[in-house]
Amino acid sequence: MIGAEGVGWRVGGAQILDDVSLTVAAGELVGIIGPNGAGKSSLVNILSGVTRPSSGRVTLDGADVSRQSATRRARSGLARSFQTSALFDGLTAGENVRLAVQGAGGSPLSPFRGARSVPATRVEELLERVTMGGTAGTLARDLSHGGRRKLELAMALAAKPRALLLDEPMAGVSAEDVDGLTAIIGEVRDSGVAVAMVEHHMHVVLGLADRVAVLHHGSLLAVGKPDEVTADERVQQAYLGEAL
Amino acid sequence: MSTFLLIVVTGLGLGALYFLAASGLSLIYGLMGVLNFAHGAFMTAGAYAAWVTMTRLPSSMGVGLRLLVAVVVALLVGAIVGVVVEVVLIRPLYRHHIQQVLVTVGLSLAAVAAVQGIWGADPRAVARPEVMTGTVGLLGARIPVDRFVYLAVALALFGGLLALLRYTRLGLVIRAGVENRTMVEALGIDVQRTFTIVFGLGGAVAALAGVLFSQYAGSVSPGQGGSLLIYAFIVVVIGGMGSLTGTAVAAFAVGLVQQLANYYAVSGVGDLSVVLLLALVLLARPSSLKGATA
């Protein structure tokens, strides 16, 4: 569904990513883990089109989309969330979601279609799905940190994407909500979406992922079933330590 | 050959004036992210302060001496105006960049009108010492001496400002404060005072530019600062928004292009050519303009 083929990225003389190949199939969830600075977000950026790789290609449905803009890719069904929430701060949570729906649907810029052609029920439903029901009228900038994370996820889901890239969706989410969000992401995967998720909460990754990819210094250290990967000594050494 | 030399030297002199006008602007923009539309008013304030000082001083004093005193007074006035504007108008709006720009817009409108109300719309002649009006013969060209003065002042200013930013803690604090003022405070540093200093400095530099420009023009008028401001803006943009070195390079480039175009192309193409230069830079290297937002 979505994949990287031999992707490399150099910036300012440093090789951030080196020959990374990873494909996520429809209905599959791949967890991407690795130490801080390993290049996980960079990979997500390249897959979503926010940055251009210096070598290799990105494919979507088998087609080479390396030269397509982030906008184009989003329109073809690729959604993502950001590690540090990137929201429309001056708009309400509801409007944020509505824009996300609109961006993915047809004629997103039409001056002839009312913004409310996105039904309010759909907006409310999406917010409720991330346990944010009733906040549709709150300005995004006034949400608490966790609220922002959840909104970020709702926006990614709003597009009814076929492929979803999540960059640390659980960071800062209170322990209470982690389970709920985990379940949502699982449902999304089960509905046939290809999901790649960067996450440091190991229990989330282990509970959800069909496969886990470990990035280390910009290269893939290991890819495989969760238990295989966690058993890998190199992974324990580089990443897990004695986890809390 | 002699004409070419003349055109080049006067072009450099013009560039020096542009740099003087733009450096204060670039300083404040680069460090505080405030595009100061009142910069023209600061220049006008400096020019009028100097003019008033020179007319008040006894004419028994030599013109040169009166000018020196006037420059000192203008620098003080510029610094005070800068500080007052920062403390009273800019500081309370520090979370709102656009509002800060807007306040300076309002200020620039009001200031020009105020000067016009007090001293009238007509230009007033300023006294100039012999040095500033004379010429020297160089390879057959009659080169006005004042251009060398502007060049010297511009170079000295450039060096001084660069050193301030590169080698002082003040420079560091300012750069951090521009990005995230709250966090700098949360690190225990008094940002406000730093910003006030920057504005005062910007005001003083603007006033200096104002005095020198009024010497150059031979008169002061309410709109004088504003007329120079457009060029200062263009120079700051071409120079990469807030980079001092870029500003210097751009200032001299704009001065030279304008002069050369005015002589070698059709008369009057020079001013348009500056706008053209901006468009060219923009089309060729748009990324260079996004520049120092940080």
Partner: protein, 237 residues
Amino acid sequence: MSSVLVLDDVHVRYGGSHVLQGVSFEVPATGVTALLGRNGVGKTTTLKAVLGLAPRTGSVLLRERDIVREPTHRIVAGGIGYVPEDREVFGGLTVEENLRLVGPAEGADAAIVRELFPDLVQRRTQRAGTLSGGQQQMVALARVLLRENDLLLVDEPTKGLAPKLVTEVADVLARVAESTPVLLVEQNLPLVRRIADTVVVLDAGRVVHRGDARELVEDQALTQELLGVSMRREGAA
């Protein structure tokens, strides 16, 4: 046992919303005090209220001195170190410049930083904005460790850190707490159990529980009630 920080009936209002509704608690002069609660209950706001970054009323005593009326920079200079929730490093400055802002990188504290975050030393000249999320978190931590403090306010320091680093950060905090009291906001209960001595739990802008850290974390019914979780599952990770 004396308290380094005492909050008494602190209120914070943002426009129409009353975010803190009379928060009172004390931070003992030693060890780690954990401030817990669900998303949006006002944990960050509490820290900001102490620092003067949020509009507050009530009384905040730092070493018996009321600081409610002081400007932020003076409060901080008076001995509080702050690691904000969103890292807030200066993206346009290099790593070194970020650290130099606080003071010269020398002395014993500098050694801790070097030992703890060797990566940063290596990336001295990189612009902090291009650091990875975890690397930025390290800069934010290192920034406060470079100076003597009476109290550290640390807001979710392990958010986005790799598991291995989480352990390391926990160790650092524990070590720091030996000499400097720490008020820590954290979602990671195992970590709280490991390093915190006391806990304060907030809900809807009020303190709903105060007590010993271990007692709370191990009382599954109580954590379930106050925080909506218990530690069984995390323990498995």
